[in-house]
Every structure is written in structure tokens, then in C-alpha cells.
Symmetry: D2
Amino acid sequence: MAKLFYRYAAMNSGKSTMLLQIAHNYEAMGKQVRLFTAAIDDRYGRGKITSRLDIQRDADTFDAEHDFLAGDYGDLACILLDEAQFLTPQQVRQLHRLAHSRKLPVICFGLRSDFRGEPFPGAAWLLALAEDIEEIKTICTCGRKATMHIRTDAAGRRLHHGPQVEIGDESRYHAVCAECFYAGESA
Amino acid sequence: MAKLFYRYAAMNSGKSTMLLQIAHNYEAMGKQVRLFTAAIDDRYGRGKITSRLDIQRDADTFDAEHDFLAGDYGDLACILLDEAQFLTPQQVRQLHRLAHSRKLPVICFGLRSDFRGEPFPGAAWLLALAEDIEEIKTICTCGRKATMHIRTDAAGRRLHHGPQVEIGDESRYHAVCAECFYAGESA
Amino acid sequence: MAKLFYRYAAMNSGKSTMLLQIAHNYEAMGKQVRLFTAAIDDRYGRGKITSRLDIQRDADTFDAEHDFLAGDYGDLACILLDEAQFLTPQQVRQLHRLAHSRKLPVICFGLRSDFRGEPFPGAAWLLALAEDIEEIKTICTCGRKATMHIRTDAAGRRLHHGPQVEIGDESRYHAVCAECFYAGESA
Amino acid sequence: MAKLFYRYAAMNSGKSTMLLQIAHNYEAMGKQVRLFTAAIDDRYGRGKITSRLDIQRDADTFDAEHDFLAGDYGDLACILLDEAQFLTPQQVRQLHRLAHSRKLPVICFGLRSDFRGEPFPGAAWLLALAEDIEEIKTICTCGRKATMHIRTDAAGRRLHHGPQVEIGDESRYHAVCAECFYAGESA
């Protein structure tokens, strides 16, 4: 059975490296894959999947209007999709249908929650529909597992409010554990 | 580190049995736990957690107004919460804070998506915030893993529309795999 | 694809409860299962699978001579096997073949290591061959996850040596975390 | 709590890439790691960890005589060890002690079973003692998950017998699913 997979992680965990490794594994067996990344993410150039280990590949891009069911996937062995938290719920549903109606495995990589601790809608739908969910683990500076994000302003002060998506200065985002995320708050 | 746990499953998988087993394990070590279930779920009586293996225990109930941060949990070893898909996003946030600010483990059991294939909001937040996510597996009548639900009317015809929550005749809900869920649809 | 599954845990975690729940799930769908447990384990009577939640069912027994490939499994939906750490390596291989050559799912439940911290041979083979491995978690009295076992004598003193298998007074075995297992040793 | 981790996989899955990514993640946070690989594995030069994505780093080597408890690990954040199936049982025990008595996380990467379908002793012990076990998945040419290995001779004929370890011509080893492993055998 083809499945919808979600590999989620906090930022800077190496998601793109894993995606590129899986692409390599398929291709080493003579199988074809297709790569997607979010059009909005142009940190390394539009339509690039870039690993922190300095590997880069071109990818197709999706924006909120992209219809995944409109594609013709020929005899593709699988779809690999990065920055999946930017998918709309409708697009997650399209990918779920691709996996099950056209038997095409779809492996998505992305975040779970934003710097306010709120789910990305695309991530929430992937987590609710994917048949296979795995965490790519990384650590907080305190040594515990990082699962959340915080955002700081130019002066290094933590921000608690603002729009969910703001591509750009990556150094203002930090992957932290939940204890560090809530530190200083009373409960 | 105390964690927020989410054990998700399709209906009829044995979630409540597992919850009651974990309660038993804690208590056999002389530790105290507190059980919660959704007030709305009165299939077996209000405030009852009932296993398909014919074991039943009383539990506190939560409705959408319940404030989990208002409780005094003394030296509780953990909170065990059933029917967690009925939590509001705010309540998931409260439980996440309990785990990390008061170091109280919270183990939630619930569904992921409804009969339309849409996430329960409480489940979406749990899946986005929990540090430890595990699936309790069960099978579809076709033999594959069940991850979705379908609902039928009194005559056994499948329903695609209607309110997300409708407690009652359980025999109208069926846990199915994604292939059976989409069967008959074109994609 | 039928698979060989291994659900491992420390003692007193509720393995048998889970096994009985899965049997129930299959049977509620009109499917047939077959239960096995180790002949050597007669704590609750020979050929009984007994849950700590006071549920019990009869099961076939296996000893070291049992040949799983000799059985005729008709249209069984799956085999559920408890106390799987007592399987011989050859028997694990037989069950692996059953899963893949006869497409019969085999779900085994058992321990990993003995009171000396050494693997049970059957467990080592199951962990090396099973396509699907999951831990059933329980806690140590210190609150951490229990993964090891210690054994005490009648006076409550810890034993470090002795035969791997000694069925009997369960109260002399304790599931502990690795930190408690090594406590007092220098490293 | 520091843990012993085992990330297991079939050959050619990208284990070394993941190891190098984790090393990078730690170092990007200013933390120190130490890398080990098996002395016996000199496919890319002795003391090299080489990713299929063309990344390579130097590593310390271990042979069967190496005593991991003899090391002074200063304020290392973690040990990353590749080709862990070549550890002796005693060495696995040393690493388990390091994790729990010296609170030093140890993350091992390796195989589970050899081309005969028998566990590597080091892998069996890692699977029995590690607190955190995860599979790095890859696929068989048939599209199913690869979990086993086969070995062929120079003429491409499958070998069923021979020594467990024979470093060298990698092209003679193939990662396959269990169905392909047993294909042609009767059961």
C-alpha cells in the first residue's frame, strides 16, 4: 500500500538532508522521484532544496494555488516534498488521495508549530492524515529534545506575536524544547 | 522531563484498555493518577472510561469550559485523559503547560480525524505539541491498518456530510484504511 | 505484506492486556486468531494468557521443540504469541517464514533482557528480524522509563548471577530503568 | 537522562549521512562530539565515515579490543558511532554504562542481520539494551521496505553460507525485503 508519510522536526534538524538522501536511494535503484518545495521559501533561491551539509538540488515549487491532482506523475516511484507546513489543508488532502487512489507514495518533511506555539494548518492536516509519522530529532541548547520554536527581534528579544509566516533572517528563529519555550511564564 | 503524550488511534482499537492498564501500572507502584474523559461522551454513562474488554472506571469529566490550569494536582504522578479529540486548542495548551511548567506528565488518548476526514481541532493541537506521539494500531476489515472513519445512516448508506461530533449509535461509525475511505472516488 | 511484529517491554507493563485486546479486535471483525504462550510459564496455570486487569484466555503452548512450520493455519488472520523471549532462534526464523512465505501476520510480545542485563536469545532474534518493533512503555519506581530487570533473593537482596530463566516468585523481579540498574556500580 | 540510541537500517539507507548531520547539529550549537567507526571497515579508508552524498569525516576507530570505558570524554556532548554491528557484546555493555553512569549520550548506527539472516552479536545487544531504537528506512527493488541482506558471488549467484563479516566488494551485497529474501524457499 502506498502511504502518505510525514517526517516532522524542529528547524535546523536536517530535514532537507534526509529528503535528499531518500531521493538518492531511490535513484540509485533506477527509480524516479519528483521533488517539491514551497515557492515562498527563497532563502537559498527559489526552487532549491538545500541541506545544511552543503548539498543542493533543484525542485518544483508549490504555492497555495498549486493543484497536486492536476499533475501527471507517469511512473514516478515517489514524491518528496519539503517545507510541507506551507501546504494548505486542501493540498494535504490532494496528496493523501494521490497516495491512495493512484498508489503513489508521498513523503513530506516539515515543521509542526510556529514561534507562537500554534500548529501550521498544513502540518495539522498532515499529522491527522499521514499513515506514517516520524520525528527527526534535534536538541535544544539545554540538551533536551527541541520541539518548539522561538523568534527574536533584531536586538535578540523574544517575540510572542506576529504573523505565522515570515521567511527571511533565519538567525532569528531558534529550535527549543518545551521547557525553554515556557520558561519565565507562570502556569 | 515530564512530557505531553498523545496516543492516537482509529475507533475500536482499544485506547481505553491501554489507558486503564497504565493507570493500573502507576497504582501498582503506589503512585496516584487522575483520569479524565469528555463529558459529552455518555455512551456508557457520564464520567466512565470503559474498555471493550469489560473493564470500567470512574473518571472526572471535562467540557469545553474546563480549565485544566485551575486544578490542584497535589503529588499526582500523571494525568490520563480519554476522548482527547474533544479538547479545545486552549485546553491542549493548558495541558502542555502543566507538563512543562509543573512537571506533570499528561497522557492523552484519542482519535485524529472525523468521518469526513477532517482533523478534530483538539487532535490537531495535540499532534502539533506533544513530545511523544504513538499510534495504537488496529485493522480495517480489508486487513490493512485502519486510520480513518466512515459513518453510515440507519440504512447503512455512507454519509459524507454532517456535524463533526454526534455521540450515539456507535454501530454507524467504522474504522477503515485510507484506501477503503477513498474507494469509489476518482482522483 | 504480512509482517513479523515484536512488541517488547519490561515486566509488568501490560503486554498480555494488549495481546488480548488485539485478539478481541480481530474477533470483533469476524476474523480468527490463534494464541500461543510458553509452556514453561505456568504462573497462572499452563496455557493461560493472563492480564493484570484480570482477564484470562486459553492459549496453545510452545516449548523448545515446537515446530511452528508444522502447523496448519487454515484461514487464520494472525498469530498472537506471548512470552516470546522463550522462543528459540530457530522458532523465530520459523515465524518469520510464516509471515513472509505464507503471508500470515505474527505478533509477538515479550521481554528484551534478563536480570543480568543479557538478551534472551529469542528476543535478540525477534529484534533483528521483525519488520515492526514497538516498545510497550512502563515506568521504574524512580519515574523514568523501565527497560531492565533486577532480581532479588528471599531477603530482598539483589542477585547478579544465576540462570537466565527461573519461573516462579514474580515478586522477586522488578522492572527498573538503566540508571537504577547500574546504580552503585562504578563506570 | 542520557540514553543509548540505536538507529538500525539495511545497507545503503543513508545511516552515515544521518550520523554526519547529527554531528553537524551538535557542533552548530557549540557542542563537542566524538565519532567512531569500525577499524575493520576500510572501504573508504580506515577511520573515515563516508556518506553516499559525498560527505566524509575522520573518525576514531574501534576494534574488538577497544575499551570504551578507558576513554576520558571530558565535556563531550555525545558519542556517535557508525558500523555498530561490529561491536562486541562487552563493548555494547560499556557504551550502555557510559550513557547511564557518566550521563553521556551514545548514538549508534548499524545493521541488524547478515546475509544469512542471522543477527550480528553487537546489533542483538544494542537492540536489547538501547533505550531508544529507530529504523532508518529504505526500500527493496520491489518497492517494499528493505530489512534483510543478500550476498552474491562474482557471477551474481546468491550465497547462503560463509563468514558473517567480509568487508570488500559492496556491489555483492543487496538490501532486500523479507519476501524477496525468502523467495524461492518453501515454508
